[in-house]
Symmetry: C2
């Protein structure tokens, strides 16, 4: 309900002074290089919880770097079933799916009130012709996304429910830890249903598995507040439950 001017806040982004600098696109770049990036990443945008940043089919023009908040991306099949393909937190890029066809191929939804930095893709391509380190970093980010998805395919293709949830929690805490959060406690930003969609499980199965982990003394679960009591036990679940 905000007028456009408010939703597309023309705030200076200033990668150079951003505390996410080493987690985001500018990772490893020199001050001069980041200055050039600053010129390009000029706008921020606020997304309220539940709103979409972009939708499948939208024309692709920008990449987005999560500045604050939390997102999910999901693809929707023709029959309406949807699959969460990822959760993105501060410093992570959104929109890479759009490059291939100039249209977005998934929806990006804010799971809490969030802000993103808007990166005009055409300008990013131009700049990366000039700043080779930017090109290098950008390629690495895309490659890592491919490798991440390989991991999800392994998870979906050959793990059982307990392993999937354990792997998911370990991945989340590891990424949160990089951002300064505790390794042993987290607040889930997503519902049981969204976790289930990501992990190829139904929400009831996710809930039951949480309860089982709690009964086994691995976790303490209070709705979306999770405390990891036995980190090692969680880790063992991922690579041991195989037969």
């Amino acid at each position: 309900m905000h007028p456009p001017a408010l939703r597309l806040a023309p705030l200076k982004s200033a990668c150079s002074s951003c505390n996410l600098r080493e987690l985001c696109l500018p990772v490893g770049m020199s001050n001069e290089q980041v200055d050039k990036l600053d010129e390009l990443v000029s706008a921020r945008r606020s997304i309220e919880r539940g709103q979409t940043l972009f939708r499948s089919g939208d024309t692709f023009q920008h990449l987005y770097a999560v500045r604050t908040g939390f997102f999910k991306t999901c693809v929707i099949a023709d029959d309406g079933r949807d699959q969460v393909t990822g959760f993105q937190m501060a410093g992570e890029l959104l929109g890479l799916d759009g490059i291939g066809t100039d249209r977005h191929a998934c929806d990006a939804v804010a799971l809490e009130d969030s802000t993103v930095c808007v990166i005009p893709y055409g300008q990013l391509e131009e700049l990366s012709l000039e700043v080779t380190d930017l090109q290098r970093v950008f390629h690495k980010i895309m490659s890592r996304e491919i490798v991440r998805e390989h991991g999800v395919m392994l998870l979906l293709g050959s793990m059982r429910a307990e392993e999937r949830l354990a792997a998911f929690l370990l991945n989340l805490t590891q990424r949160l830890h990089l951002r300064g959060y505790s390794r042993s406690a987290l607040v889930l930003r997503m519902s049981r249903e969204e976790i289930g969609s990501y992990l190829g499980l139904k929400l009831e199965t996710v809930s039951r598995t949480f309860s089982r982990f709690q009964a086994e003394g691995i976790l303490e679960v209070k709705q979306r507040d999770i405390r990891i009591v036995d980190h090692e036990g969680l880790r063992k679940l991922v690579n041991t439950t195989a037969c």
Copy 2:
């Protein structure tokens, strides 16, 4: 068992005269641009059936374009379970997984005697600073790989066995058709077990599903020779079997 000199045949690749030109890296590039690419893609390499092009952990130096033959890529979990993450045919790129960490993150195995064009990645990066169309195409290829994997996640996360196999067959025939093969007949290059690994199913389930499709008059199946009798029926399976 060949001496290295034979396995790394120093043949000229000549994208400019390659019949895969419009399916591969040079897609849409001008003659001049392709000439520059030719200088870079100087070597071919032959891989016998069953041999690996690269393995997880190998240092990453090259991308590879499949020239002839057929590959699978797979990731292997610590406990030995493996997951096929893709099948690659003529014109498709292998090795994108290595860019992020300078080490390959999966194995690439030839499913039949194959040849690939060797693309030194460092030189590709350099050239794409200069040939903007190359950069553009390369980014599109990576982005499409991300989107493809989203599709696999949807498949693994929320489809039942029949849908998975139907979607798999439609995808294969579509890609083969682009390469001049029939839309209604194909010879599978991979075993039931490999199909199962890709689709998150056991080989027995794959086999049974083939048999069911045959009984329903959708396919004719003779081991690895598949004929699609009812293309529309196959298509309907993908988006209808939902409840």
